[in-house]
Amino acid sequence: MTLDSLSNIMRNSEYRSPEFELIHAHDLALVNHFVDYFTGVKSLPNGGAIIGATSRSQAPVSPSMELALKQIEDRQAGRELTKKDSYCRSYDARVDQAMQDLELMRLRGLSKVEARGLMDYWAASGMLRSRVDEKTVAEKWALAGNGIVGEMERGALRMRI
């Protein structure tokens, strides 16, 4: 079970009940179904994987989710856990509790080897017209902020100068 754009889930929804109380996103059926498995409340009898990915473009910020992810990373690195910001008012208690026990994979840029492989493919497809050698790979890699794939694609494929 996979979900894209996790921060849309980890907040109150835009809806209100007839008593005019805010409805939390976790109370909506489809989201509830995902979140129950994501947090471990329910479990799949034959095993499986529940993966949630955050989205960083045009997605709302959920401070509780960000904090929870930072804390998971701290735990993985063996550091002291990041504390809550005492001046922030938009923490969500339900989300704090929900995202306690997860595994986190933080994506960074590609390595030069991976970048080379990708650029070879682009060149072989005829999309990238330049020579693919150490120099050009290093150039595109550096311009993409140390290998961020989206930026590499933009720089190599979409910008036609």
């Binding site: 889930i9 489809l30 989201v31 095993g47 529940i50 994979m105 999309m127």
Partner: protein, 250 residues
């Protein structure tokens, strides 16, 4: 005693005087005045310019009418959201293998681009795993780069398969680092292994409440997993009021 202007002496010859204003003399000459006024009235009646010269009339233009056939309802949305996975203008990459279950956890495959087999592509398309802004339509066959992280995800899935346990993973990173693509890789792994895949493509749209389903749900007291297949008309049912036991269907 007030100063007085000297009166004109008839004995002294003087130059003929002209006043600045001709109207006075004109008004004094009644007949001439009447003829001029009559002429002006005539001109005004026919629409000619009273003072003489050319007259320009500006006609009010009518608004441009929209012509052409409008697209059908849903057409624009369909075009906006269509996903093109293949481009015959791109070259065929020789020697590019298709993804097989054996390749998934092989660390030597890191840095290689592999194609996605047909059934996997069908499954991914049906689950809405491909996004419009990603560059799938630039190449001949949909293919993915195998990264260290994708090998790791495949290993986790294999572990879940073997041990029959549930893996809960959150994927985070900056913009453009490949989070959605890692999800796609995970889904491709699942399809290759014959797993059932449920993908929620955009968390934002999973928050919509479908009013008709809500009403049905409250009336028939169904559990959230039993999604109704028929839609009933809104007028047949009273307005929905949620209580403690109902779950809102989103």
């Amino acid at each position: 005693m007030a100063a007085q202007l000297p009166l004109p002496n008839p004995m002294i010859p003087s130059l003929p005087t002209r006043s600045f204003n001709t109207s006075a003399a004109l008004y004094a000459d009644k007949k001439r005045m009447q003829a001029i006024m009559a002429g002006r009235k005539q001109k005004a009646a026919t629409g000619e310019s009273v003072r003489g010269g050319q007259k320009v009339t500006i006609n009010k233009k009518s608004r441009p009418q929209k012509s052409g056939k409008l697209p059908e309802p849903g057409e624009r949305k369909r075009l906006r959201k269509r996903i093109v996975l293949s481009n015959t203008n791109a070259l065929e990459v020789e020697g590019m293998a298709n993804l097989t279950p054996g390749m998934l956890t092989d660390a030597r495959m890191v840095g290689r681009v592999v194609g996605l087999p047909g059934n996997v592509v069908d499954g991914l398309r049906a689950s809405e795993a491909f996004k419009v802004n990603q560059g799938w339509g630039l190449f001949r066959h949909p293919s993915v780069l195998i990264r260290e992280e994708s090998v790791r995800v495949s290993e986790l899935l294999q572990q879940a398969d073997v041990k029959r346990e549930m893996i809960r993973l959150a994927v985070d990173g900056d913009r453009g680092t490949g989070k959605s693509t890692i999800l796609l890789h995970a889904m491709a792994t699942a399809f290759l292994r014959g797993w059932i895949v449920l993908h929620i493509p955009e968390g934002k749209y999973s928050l919509r409440i479908y009013q008709l389903l809500l009403i049905m749900f409250s009336q028939l007291e169904m559990s959230p997993t039993q999604l109704p297949t028929t839609f009933l008309s809104h007028e047949q049912h009273p307005p929905f009021t949620p209580n403690q036991s109902t779950r809102l269907l989103g």
